[in-house]
Amino acid sequence: MENARKLRILVAKPGLDGHDRGARVIARAFRDAGHEVIYTGCHQTPEQIVSTAIQEDVDMIGLSILSGAHTYSFPKVIDLLKENNALDISVVGGGIFPLEDIPKLKGIGIKEIFEPGAKLTDIIEWVGANIKPREGALQKHGYH
């Protein structure tokens, strides 16, 4: 039978900026790539994002941000994942970032950063190569 496994991806916009065109475009691109996308819209707090990611059991969180608040929200998301023993959920970012911030974000565990001009096909390809559906709950050793 056809393999029923699918990637589940949360696309979320942390913080106050309300420009979600980019987030919607990427959500749709993930859908067209055959993934299941949970879309929660704008103005999400890191706490809401992590709570959603855990309840929805996603493999990846895509954070879209244009406001410059990534220096607060990205580390906070990583910290909350750590607190919830959920660092196996990958986090990537998309939006506008000062160049010098990118190594810092990768340093705290953000898997990849996509800047303006990143091609949808490249993002989809990166996700396909780097994000896998997690193991079954019983197969996973060392969980809890």
């Binding site: 879309y39 929660t40 929805e56 079954g136 709950a137 019983l138």
Partner: protein
């Protein structure tokens, strides 16, 4: 603690992972479901169904507030469609439920239909059982936006709420078979719009006709006008659900049993169908054949679907 104990104790991460395993048809999920089953049977299951855009998510969001105020824990399963072309999906029901994201007493899961017709996913009934075993007092199931014939929810829920809005069609729509027959409660949402009273009247006519066919003692469907985004009519909806629950449980306890048996039959048939199909497919593959190969034979007119199925049944089910 093993995974069963963690689910039963309500551990969110464990519940979330088991739901994923069920949806992804990971074989070990069957064992987990088996062990969770004795813990089920306590939750009250309410289904919300209706056409796309009538406000199912907003109503689920609103009614969840009332259950929380009453001290009940809530599980929400919200189904959205899978693309038939790419297999992908955008699951957006949560957008209307944000107020509950940080409430540990509310667990929300978005589900894609993954090619299943009928308004739910194949996994939904099993997922309801997981949330039931995890101690959720109330489970709200929101179907995919449905047309006229997706009536599965009526076999899965204790109470089915059919949501409509004013002006969805003339009164002939209301006498068609299918979706309009399954509502225990009818909600006319967006009731501030023109034509709300007319829609209510049409529904009343429908219910009256139905009642005349029955010989008394049956549940008389309730009609509730709501305006979900303004929280209007939600208390009335809550009361109507409660009234139906009382009807099922107290005054006609055989009704309660009937619903339980209906759910059991659906679960049994689902498990039987999936497991038998998988087992037969495995055997076919063990013999070195495959569905693809058979499809080619059919296209080349070397055989046909009916002969092949007959052969499979004769060789595999003897």
């Amino acid at each position: 603690m093993d995974i069963i104990e963690r689910v039963v104790s309500g551990d969110i991460r464990s519940i979330a992972r088991v739901l994923r395993d069920i949806d992804d048809e990971i074989p070990t999920a069957r064992g987990v479901l088996r062990e969770l089953y004795p813990h089920t049977g306590k939750a009250y299951i309410v289904g919300f169904t209706g056409s796309p855009g009538v406000g199912k998510s907003a109503l689920v969001d609103q009614i969840a507030i009332h259950y929380r105020k009453a001290g009940k824990t809530v599980g929400i399963l919200a189904v959205d469609p899978t693309s038939p072309f790419t297999g992908g999906a955008i699951l957006g029901d949560r957008i209307r439920m944000q107020r509950h994201f940080l409430d540990p007493g509310v667990f929300i899961r978005s589900i894609a239909t993954r090619g299943h017709f009928g308004g739910l996913s194949r996994s939904t009934n099993d997922m309801v059982n997981v949330l039931d075993a995890a101690g959720k007092d109330v489970i709200l199931v929101e179907t995919v936006g449905v047309g006229q014939d997706e009536v599965e929810i009526a076999n899965s829920a204790h109470t089915t709420v059919l949501v409509t809005i004013p002006g969805m069609g003339d009164d002939i729509q209301a006498i068609k078979a299918g979706i309009m027959e399954i509502g225990n409660i009818f909600v006319v949402n967006k009731a501030d719009r023109e034509g709300s009273r007319k829609t209510v009247r049409e529904l009343m006519n429908l219910i009256e006709l139905r009642a005349r066919r029955q010989n008394g003692g049956e549940w008389e469907p309730q009609i509730v006008e709501t305006e979900a985004i303004k929280s209007r009519g939600i208390q009335e909806l809550y009361d109507a659900i409660d009234k139906h629950k009382t009807y099922l449980m107290a005054t006609h306890s055989e009704k309660w049993r009937e619903v339980a048996e209906k759910r059991a039959r659906i679960l049994l048939m689902g498990a039987l169908r999936d497991n038998m199909f998988k087992a037969i497919l495995e055997r076919i593959e063990k013999r070195g054949s495959s569905l693809d190969e058979m499809a080619q034979k059919i296209v080349d007119k070397q055989s046909d679907p009916y002969t092949l199925v007959q052969q499979i049944l004769e060789s595999e089910l003897k």
